[in-house]
Subunit: 303 residues, 2 copies
């Protein structure tokens, strides 16, 4: 019982790092959420220094928002969910960081998203935003599908949809592919005169640049353009197959998160769509649960 | 006739710049090829300084090979065929270069490849190497298809084939796509244990990294793997459609150049395949013809 008493006085911070922003939430078991903060990009695959800086910015904002003093950072038990730390090299690099927290627990952004979506319990998540991937945690076992990155993976994601739209428009505009209303939509979007005008502006764009075009594909699919329909159906078909693979593990719940999860619902296999439930909590809360669970394990070890 | 006499004493240099190397050939109307040189990457889209340096390295090697003195660079009438100079901004930047040549004429690498393939006469070319594109020059009119770059264009190219192979293998290894023998071939190539092992090593690779995998697709297609067959047939189908579009202009000849032109021949539409003729001269000779033609036009203007 002593351990539990100590625990209830602890402060936790959950950090969810992403390619465009980093969210931090400070939490106490007694009072719940005390404050939140927002920082810049925190994907260690795209830069370690930048990631650590974004984590500190969001942490300082959360401390201020919680009415805590800057030096109370040393009292925080941190849970971090970051992309790429499934790679041992990257995991070790971040664990070697001379962080200011009381203690720090690190796992993947998928893991914390899953823990958050199911409020600390077992379950599965599919993330469909700029990228796409699937993750399940059942009885201590984890599985991971997709998430292989732009342009070779991440089917059904926003970046994938945007890329397929650009490919189809360029073929059509060259007279070398099927007609599609996406061509005119993209010419208008880029104020371009021809295929080369689109190609030039998209050359070297990161996945986020392509993801911005996904809404046109969804729009044109609703307007019954054959190419747009085939892109959306093919992407949703992949997400349905991904869901089936995750459901093979019998997770108690399945949630979809990310910007494309809502618009894709209508296109999923109906058997799958009816099993998808809303996430209970956001990924940064998942990072807090992860810290609480990990600290609990630490305390058990110490006793 | 005076002009022709003067012309015959002139020295020409043809430069073909590419993404991995730059070739230069020095030529006189009286004695033919005098010497050749090889420099590093010369694609101005990937770096202007590097391009100009590679042009000078290949030029100096060609001067030495020709037994000419370094300062005779000032006697050379240069023809340059470079990627990206269809963009006015890039064309102007290179034309503003304080080059050491007697005079310099600049055009696209496609244009010089076409002039070379048909020994200065009208014709059409399809380039299928790391990338793919089509170009025709008939009665002063030029057309241009494809060449929109990796990963959004360049169907039927080596980089496109490699990317399609990686995509198919990742889907298969996740149990989310059709079985393909490409999966084991790529696992072996990368000494990888699973899909993520392949994805990690290909993440952020340029088009040349994907093009290296094209030979596996051609190999497995010959072994009748359904996925490899469908990639090769789909790529060759695009190249056949590209050829048909170019043939609409009634070019006297059609040539294919680049590393994939030979292996793709067997997969082309037979009607197209029988119209494809070998290139008569390499692109750097095309650059020389371009310089001769351009200098001739200059002389006419001066008279």
């Amino acid at each position: 019982m002593m351990a539990k008493q100590v625990n209830q006085d602890q402060l936790y911070i959950g950090v969810d790092g992403g390619g465009t922003k980093c969210r931090a939430t400070i939490y106490s078991l007694q009072h719940g959420i005390l404050g939140t903060g927002l920082g810049g990009p925190a994907n260690p695959l795209h830069g370690l220094e930048r990631t650590l800086e974004s984590i500190m910015v969001s942490t300082q904002m959360a401390l201020q928002d919680a009415g805590l003093r800057v030096e109370q950072v040393h009292e925080l038990n941190a849970g971090l969910g970051l992309a790429g730390v499934n790679l041992p090299l990257l995991y070790d690099k971040i664990m070697q960081w001379e962080h200011p927290f009381k203690q720090m627990f690190l796992t993947t952004d998928l893991h914390t998203a899953c823990i958050g979506a199911h409020e600390g319990s077992d379950g599965a998540v599919i993330i469909t935003g700029t990228g796409s991937c699937g993750f399940a945690l059942v009885n201590g076992k984890t599985v991971n599908y997709g998430g292989h990155g732009f342009a070779q993976g991440d089917m059904g994601s926003g970046a994938w949809m945007g890329l397929e739209a650009v490919k189809a428009a360029l073929l059509d505009l060259d007279g070398l592919g099927e007609k599609t209303t996406l061509s005119q939509v993209l010419l208008d979007h880029f104020s371009a005169k021809d295929a080369m005008g689109i190609a030039e502006q998209m050359a070297g764009q990161p996945s986020s640049g392509y993801a911005k075009l996904a809404r046109y594909v969804l729009d044109q699919a609703k307007q019954n353009d054959d190419i747009a329909l085939s892109i959306v159906k093919s992407g949703a078909g992949y997400i349905s197959r991904l869901a089936k693979r995750l459901l093979e593990l019998n997770p108690p719940r399945l949630s979809m998160i990310g910007g494309l999860s809502e618009p894709l619902q209508a296109w999923l296999d109906p058997e799958i769509a009816k099993q998808v439930q809303l996430p209970k909590q956001p990924p940064e809360m998942g990072a807090i649960y992860f810290a609480i669970q990990s600290a609990g394990q630490e305390l058990q070890k110490a006793n």
